[in-house]
Point group: C2
Chain length 299, copies 2
């Protein structure tokens, strides 16, 4: 079985294509790395790169990206809508195949320590890699951004980095390095125009109001389609599977006398999550992605 | 998207490993071919090789396997339980990714014609590639086996081959070349010891007694587990999806007051079939295997 770790670095440059190209080139220079996607956002002045590798190559790719960003991006000159504190702003590692979230925590620690030591950039560990509970939430880590953190990191003990100097890098700022499960964007559209129903169901099922763990949910109006939507992010499908989220909504819509029009998966989804849906609905307790033919061919 | 065709040749040799190795080696000698599985069965004196390639390489691999079998296997000396008429006995092509059943029919025709012409072996087209309706069923094609077909092919017009000489190859016999959808072996186990229930449900849902198309089903007793089983082969999951077979059984078990204990997928299953299950149960009309992350990495 191939071991695959996904890495999704966010760089504070979304306008100068030649800069982003150079950073991506430096990541791609590691043999075995596959760059799956590069999204430049000029409004946010930010780019999101998605690449994969094994436990070793993904670390080297991430480090080379960090080094290139430090050379090419000066945060003193950076403007954009999205909050940021570093040239390489955030660096999450995501388990894909043959690797656990805990493995990704260890990868984050190793890469974070190397960035701090070799590039002299302070590093904060966040999400599953956080060593302080308040740093699980990226917003707490990035509060004040580059400009505000410049002072806070010097005096405020709660803002001292996990690795590296207690001073921002003059041009590259600081970097948040973390580990998380793959996100699944799953929506369920309801055959009603009553936005209240969607909002109520969203509130009932989301973790923040005591619903299902690892579920974020909001209610939206889909004007053109004359429907409402329960829009979800599943932050750990091994804790709350897609099928459980769907069935929780189904229970609520049944109670409300409303029909589910359709589900939607936005973007990509891990193979294991698809297999999980199939195994739960078909009651197959021991079905795994190893039984998927293409995995034998491609993997 | 990678184009993948699966090919599952059955060779009439399951005892002499050196012979099977040479045949597999000749298939593998085509760049791009992946041999996924080789199963030697000494009782049947037969080997089943599973390999994949694209539309071109799969043809070359199949032809080289046919040529090696013709050199190495003499059917006059072959004994085994399984019916057979050729050194390369059957050669089915199966659509996997980015390719249709119709594409596989054309591949079967091209490879069949080449085997007939270059190797002087009579070829019968069967299943989806059949040009005569009675040849859809392999049993009709192979009736009488090597020994019986030797005479029949000379005089019985209904046994004339689709391609090649109207006489068996003296040592390699004849070959059936075909195209079919991937088979899915799907079982549903019921929490009862009443075998009659399983047999009755199997009869109700199988195609041969007027049930769901492309479904073969039998009822079995699972002595050790104290349950009964509806054991199915789905011969085209695009006609009758796994989810529809499951729900048909669920309707019957509900009516009979019996509980479904579990489902089972035996062996491998195409990615598209897994995605189909997920999309149907979650009501996602436009979900495809292109949204599976690993497909981007591996494919």
């Amino acid at each position: 079985m191939p071991v695959t770790v996904e890495c999704v670095p966010n760089f504070s440059e979304g306008r100068r294509k030649e800069v982003v190209d150079k950073i991506v080139y430096s990541i791609r220079s590691v043999p075995g790395i596959k760059v799956l996607d590069v999204e430049m956002d000029p409004d946010h002045n930010r780019s999101v790169v998605t690449f994969t590798g094994n436990k070793e190559t993904v670390q080297e790719g991430a480090f080379r990206g960090a080094r290139a960003a430090r050379e090419l991006i000066d945060l003193n000159k950076h403007k954009g809508q999205h909050p940021r504190m570093g040239a390489l702003d955030v660096l999450p590692f995501v388990p894909m195949s043959g690797v656990t979230l805990q493995d990704c925590v260890e990868i984050a620690e190793r890469v974070g320590a190397r960035i701090a030591k070799e590039l002299k950039i302070p590093v904060y560990l966040y999400e599953a890699a956080a060593k302080k509970p308040e740093r699980k939430n990226l917003e707490n880590v990035r509060r004040g951004e580059f400009e505000g953190l410049r002072e806070a990191i010097l005096m405020d003990e709660s803002r001292f980095p996990d690795y590296g100097p207690r001073v921002l890098h003059p041009t590259a700022g600081a970097t948040a390095v973390g580990a998380r499960m793959p996100l699944i964007a799953f929506n369920v559209n309801l055959r009603t125009k009553d936005l209240g129903v969607a909002k109520q169901i969203a509130k009932k099922i989301r973790a923040s109001s005591g619903g299902l763990p690892c579920v974020k949910a909001l209610g939206f109006m889909l004007e053109k389609r004359g429907m409402v939507q329960v829009s979800m992010n599943l932050t750990d499908y091994t804790v709350t599977p897609i099928s459980r989220a769907y069935e929780a909504i189904k229970m609520e819509t049944d109670a409300a006398g409303v029909e589910i029009a359709e589900g939607e998966i936005i973007g990509l989804i891990p193979l294991d999550a698809v297999c999980d849906v199939a195994s739960r609905f078909l009651k197959i307790s021991n079905f795994t992605s190893n039984q998927v033919l293409e995995r034998r061919i491609w993997g």
